[in-house]
Amino acid sequence: MIFGLPVTGLGGLFYLILTIWMPVREAHRTVRGQGCPKRWKQIAVSCSMMAGLFITMFTQAWLISMLMPGATAMSSQAMGTAEFDRFAGTQTGGLVAGAMIVSLITLVIVAIVVHTLRIGFQVRTQLRARGAHTVARA
């Protein structure tokens, strides 16, 4: 089962980051003598697909800007990335960059919430264990 909007949702950005991290992680493994040619092949496939996704995202944003330039400019304005277009002289960069930035900020917030919960839960477990130990000693 697929949850969310594949690729354009938060999942899309998350898997993009995981894909970018794959060759870095594998290079580290290879340096440590744990490399595996089969894994490199898989990384090449995933990275190729991700490159294709990037190209189509920009192509699509360009098409949208052709179809509805007003709406594209409004979206860039709303996301605060209109300057990007003025600077780069494009109509699409702002839209794509804006979408990426909004998703990235959301992803960072989700990551912060997850790790805060994790640390909070870990601290609570340790405090409970310490409390039980103190009671046992008493």
């Binding site: 999942g11 699509q60 179809l67």
Partner: protein, 390 residues
């Protein structure tokens, strides 16, 4: 595998590690008077050591007379021999058991319907004599080399379960076509990335292999949620095991051919996800990568679904009508992994013509995702009825 029955949800018993079978760890694992064990070869509850590398296939079945024969025949064609095939005929009212026996499988039949697929599997678990237990659905056939490709993943002692690539056997109706694209996308793009990080979110219940001793030690398949496969996968992670996804091991289940069955399946899957999160959230926080995979899935299930139903129509009404194109925004991005996966199978045209159906299925999928979120999380009305998905 069982139609409209109420789930029992006993608490997990405290279990000590053991290498021998303890058949009464869950209530449903206890045989009762009236259980029938009919087999071509003698079949008894297994006690003692297991032959290394041996494999039993366990198939829960309820009214699967039409499909069980093909399933067993596909097992008999495997390039890597299957040692035992056990069908749990969960009080079918058709000839499921008879047909399974005729095709050479061992058949066990409880005295009463077990209420859900997990419970039916647990009924069969004590009879599994082999080191590995492969659970497959009664409507699922395997590629001839599926077992040969899947089993080596279990050579690593740290691996607790392995699953394969899932593709619908029939791609005819709109719903089957939508599911075909959904699977091609997920199993070509998401799942290999999850596997690289050692954290597939779920070992699909229709085709996964486990270590029998560990399954027994853990009390079998959990019956506390309607997503027993996801529940078991996350139990394995909590126990420190890894789960592997093997893209070359392919299985072909029958997917819901119409809206009625699709609705039931989506409701069960979505409810299963929310139930698993509520049961496992503390353990999930300790598992690197998986915690973020699940958090992102949670976010998208609620927020992306809301965007789909509310934001896009509002933008189209109040800003610009062409915002309606937002529904098709990700078509090229979906098409790339889908066409890559389809190209490998020589099914490009089938994939291209099926893509529109994916959008219909996704719309329905989001609706049930939001509905089950409301029922399970806000209204606290848990789904406790296990209904067949086809």
């Amino acid at each position: 595998m069982v139609a409209s029955s109420v789930l029992d949800a006993p608490p997990l018993p405290s279990i000590t590690p053991s290498t021998t079978i303890a058949p009464s760890m869950r209530p449903e694992m206890v045989g009762t008077q009236g259980d029938q064990i009919t087999t071509p070869a003698p079949l008894t509850e297994h006690r003692g050591s297991r032959k290394p590398g041996s494999l039993t296939v366990l198939i829960p079945a309820y009214n699967e007379a039409e499909n069980i024969g093909a399933t067993i025949e596909s097992l008999k064609r495997q390039t890597r021999k299957v040692d035992h095939i056990i069908v749990v005929d969960d009080c079918s009212s058709d000839r499921t058991g008879e047909i399974a026996r005729a095709h050479g499988a061992s058949v066990i039949r409880p005295a009463k319907n077990r209420g859900c697929k997990a419970s039916a599997l647990n009924f069969g678990l004590p009879f599994v004599p082999d080191e590995f237990c492969l659970a497959i659905d009664a409507d699922t056939t395997l590629a001839d080399d599926a077992v040969e490709k899947l089993l080596p993943a279990m050579d690593d002692e740290k691996v607790g379960a392995a699953c394969g690539f899932v593709l619908p056997r029939h791609v005819r109706t709109m719903w089957e076509r939508g599911r075909y694209i959904e699977y091609l996308y997920a199993f070509t793009f998401y799942k290999p990335i999850q596997d690289y990080y050692g954290r597939p979110m779920i070992a699909s219940g229709c085709f996964s292999v486990y270590r029998t001793d560990e399954l027994v030690r853990l009390g079998g398949w959990p019956t506390r949620t309607v997503g027993e496969d996801m529940d078991l996968t996350w139990v394995l992670y909590a126990e420190g095991y890894e789960v592997r996804y093997v893209a070359d091991a392919i299985c072909y289940p029958i997917e819901p051919p119409n809206f009625d069955f699709m609705r039931k399946q989506l409701t069960r899957w979505s409810s299963g996800f929310w139930q698993c999160v509520s049961v496992h959230w503390q353990d999930l926080l300790k598992v690197p990568y998986l915690r973020m995979i699940v958090a992102v899935a949670l976010w998208d299930a609620v927020v992306a679904a809301t965007v789909y139903f509310l934001l896009i129509p509002l933008l189209a009404i109040f800003v610009h009508p062409l915002f309606i194109l937002g529904y098709l925004m990700d078509m090229p991005a979906i098409a790339i992994p889908v066409l890559y996966g389809a190209h490998q199978r020589g099914e490009k045209w089938k994939a291209i013509t099926s893509i529109p159906a994916f959008y219909v299925l996704r719309f329905v999928n989001f609706y049930y995702s939001l509905k089950t979120f409301y029922n399970e999380v806000i209204a606290r009305k848990r789904l406790r009825t296990f209904e067949k998905g086809h």
